[in-house]
């Protein structure tokens, strides 16, 4: 920029040479990241866009252009519409549960002094464990006749519930497992946010008469956690939107499509039915949602929560 503004007559050959070296060095530093970005994200994305406009099938030798045909088909496809709705319902349960649950646990754990690290470990364990293995454990826990959860229900005098094979409860059950899996990570993020709030502010609030728990939370904790909450909210939304493994392991979309979610359907279309072109179009829709979530964070709310 400054180079273009300065008159060339004023710039000696030495300075020009130094600018050239600086530019080469800068490119050199940016290159590895740029190459990786190109190879792992941008190039596959370009292929995806191209494929989404074709009827290519995996292993096929030719393909035809269908333009927006795949998208029209997806809009009309009742399975896709149901899976999108299921995904949104799942997000709508997991986001408030995961965000406010994480916040509640963080506030409670933050006040502990000696037992704090113990609670941190307990709540963080699900994050570190392999979900496939945990899914098996959940399957056992929720088993209609053998599971201890139904054992407790029966002991309390209720009828046993087949959590995962009942269409009305299956999606909600998966959402609860999703929350359980996210809580620990969100708690750690909120704890970091809580630790960053200066103690002085609470003391000033104490002297200013803002000493009740609700007042302290509403006046100081909640507003000052704004940036953290924003981050947790967006990452939780994206994670919830990407729900796949619990569905694939525990329900396979069933019972009667009650837990079919977008990513699982993309997987089925792309890797089970080999409708690569169609799966590419669905992936494009999926990415559009993720992009909207990220854009919301970057542009609108981000400005209001930083001080």
């Amino acid at each position: 920029m400054t180079l273009a503004l300065a008159s060339p007559a004023l710039i000696g050959p030495g300075i020009r040479r130094r600018h050239r070296i600086e530019r080469i060095a800068g490119l050199g530093f940016a290159m590895p990241a740029l190459v990786l970005l190109l190879l792992t994200i941008l190039a596959p994305l370009a292929v995806l866009v191209v494929l989404s406009a074709t009827n290519y099938e995996f292993g096929g030798i030719d393909m035809d252009w269908v333009g927006f045909g795949n998208f029209q088909k997806a809009l009309a496809d009742p399975i896709i519409r149901r899976s999108l709705l299921n995904t949104l319902v799942y997000v709508a349960i997991v986001v408030p549960g995961g965000v406010f649950g994480g916040l509640l646990i963080a506030v409670l754990v933050h006040r502990r002094t000696r037992s704090r690290s113990l609670y941190e470990v307990i709540y963080f364990l699900p994050v570190t464990s392999t979900l496939i293995a945990m899914a098996t454990v959940w399957q056992f826990l929720l088993h209609p006749s053998l599971g201890p959860i139904n054992g407790v229900l029966k002991w309390l005098g209720f009828a046993p519930v087949a959590f995962l094979s009942e269409p009305t409860t299956a999606l909600a059950t998966l959402a609860v497992i999703g929350i359980w899996q996210l809580l620990g990570f969100n708690m750690i993020l909120f704890l970091a946010g809580l630790t960053a709030i200066p103690r002085d502010l609470y003391e000033a609030a104490d002297i200013d008469g803002c000493s009740g728990g609700i007042d302290r939370f509403l006046t100081i904790t909640w507003p000052l956690l704004g940036p953290t909450t924003m981050f947790v909210l967006i990452t939780t939304m994206i994670t919830a939107f990407k729900v796949f493994d619990t569905v694939a392991v525990m329900t396979r979309g069933g019972p009667v499509g009650a837990t079919e979610v977008l990513l699982y359907n993309i997987y089925l279309e792309g890797f089970q039915y080999f409708h690569t072109g169609y799966a590419a179009a669905l992936t494009f829709v999926f990415l559009a949602f993720i992009l909207v979530f990220s854009a919301v964070q970057t542009f609108s709310l981000d400005k209001k929560v930083h001080y």
Partner: protein, 395 residues
């Protein structure tokens, strides 16, 4: 307006004893400064008065009533923090108004949404706005009301913190090193502004600082603290002119007091660098005695001609410091590597001394402070004692 009475306040953090039985009476409308080095317990003490910290023993009374069972905001005290502790997400107006919204609105009137149902809220808010306006006018903050703390300079933040303290009309202002985050020039300015504010409000001020200049310039009385106890309590001039112990003498005054190694000779007569002086003390011969001489009490003399009632010692000029209106001369004491002396003098006299020059520095023996080996002040007896009848003030 109120008195503050501390009786045998004790406080420990774990095994560390921070305060060891402090007694202190602060008069109504007084400006009392707690001064001392870091870790002496002064901040803990002000926090105990505020109710942010609970004492292990003893009691605090404000206005004659015990406040030990009261929460901080019920004690009618306001506090200004070193970090200012402004709420970063609130405007200047909201920061200053917060103590009033907390006390004048009910909980449900402060809650989001629910507050819209309240009919009395608007009227209460009008009253709060008027009170905030009165305070911000006094502090010249009117044009900054809608800014956030991050958009203010250090001095402006300091004034907002003061405003938040003033708006409640507290009986007692507690200030915990409020000026230490400001630059030197602003600190000098705020010093006089605080002193004037104290005069105008007539409230009791308890002020904590590690800066002896702040303590000397603003206070009615100063309590010098060290290791959890009050070494001396008195007016600034009492602390300067009659320090009760070596630590007080060393801490108060800038440049620091000159300390000379004296020794008790035959008949209790003091000797300095092997020369007998005109001062005698009631200590057995051979005891070391530290002589404290302020830098302005030193003058250039001509060796043995110093005369009766005047002590002297030889020194070599190391460095001159030009302060404009005066000079501070730094000397090495002849034959003593570690020890030095400073002399405060006029530019004319300083011009006559050259670097590395060997000179004799004299002082009036009545102007020197004597401290025994344990650091306690001792009074000389015999001739040349002008103020022997004054009892040193001690806590």
């Amino acid at each position: 307006m109120a008195t503050v009475t501390l009786s045998s306040i004790a406080k420990s953090f774990g095994a560390t004893r921070v305060l060891g039985g402090i007694d202190l009476d602060i008069a109504d409308g007084e400006f009392l400064t707690l001064v001392g080095p870091s870790g002496c317990g002064k901040s803990t003490m002000i926090r105990i008065i505020a109710g942010l910290e609970h004492q292990d023993g003893g009691g605090v009374a404000i206005g004659g009533h015990s406040v030990d069972h009261l929460r901080p905001h019920e004690r009618r005290v306001a506090m200004v923090f070193q970090s200012y502790a402004l709420y970063p997400h609130m405007s200047v107006r909201a920061n200053i108004a917060l103590p009033l919204t907390m006390s004048r609105l009910k909980l449900w009137q402060r809650l989001p949404l629910l507050r819209l149902l309240s009919s009395g809220r608007r009227e209460a808010m009008r009253g709060i706005d008027a009170d905030v306006g009165a305070v911000t006018a006094q502090l010249q903050l009117d044009h900054l009301l809608d800014r956030k703390p991050a958009q203010l300079s250090g001095g402006q933040r300091q004034r907002v913190a003061l405003g938040r303290a003033m708006v409640r009309n507290p009986d007692v202002f507690l200030m915990d090193e409020p000026l230490s985050n400001l630059d030197a020039k602003l600190r000098v300015h705020m010093r006089s502004e605080l002193a004037e504010l104290h005069k105008r409000l007539g409230a009791t001020f308890v002020y904590v600082t590690h800066d002896q200049v702040e303590a000397m310039t603003m206070s009615d009385r100063v309590a010098m603290m060290d290791s959890g106890s009050i070494l001396q309590l008195g007016t600034p001039s009492q602390l300067y002119e009659r320090p009760a112990s070596l630590k007080v003498a060393q801490f108060i005054g800038s440049p620091a007091i000159n300390l000379l190694p004296g020794i008790v000779g035959a008949g209790g007569r003091l000797e300095l660098f092997g020369r007998p002086m005109g001062l005698s003390v009631g200590l057995p011969p051979g005891q070391p005695v530290t002589l404290g001489v302020r830098s302005e009490a030193l003058s250039l003399v001509h060796g043995e001609t110093a005369g009766a009632g005047r002590g002297w010692f030889s020194a070599r000029l190391r460095r001159k410091e030009n302060l404009g209106s005066e000079y501070i001369l730094h000397f090495d004491l002849a034959g003593r590597d570690a020890q030095g002396a400073t002399m405060r003098t006029s530019p004319a006299i300083a011009a006559g001394v050259h670097e590395a020059a060997e000179v004799a520095l004299g002082f009036d023996e009545t102007a020197c402070h004597l401290f025994a080996a344990d650091g306690e002040r001792i009074e000389p007896r015999g001739p040349g004692v002008a103020t022997a009848s004054v009892v040193p003030l001690r806590a």
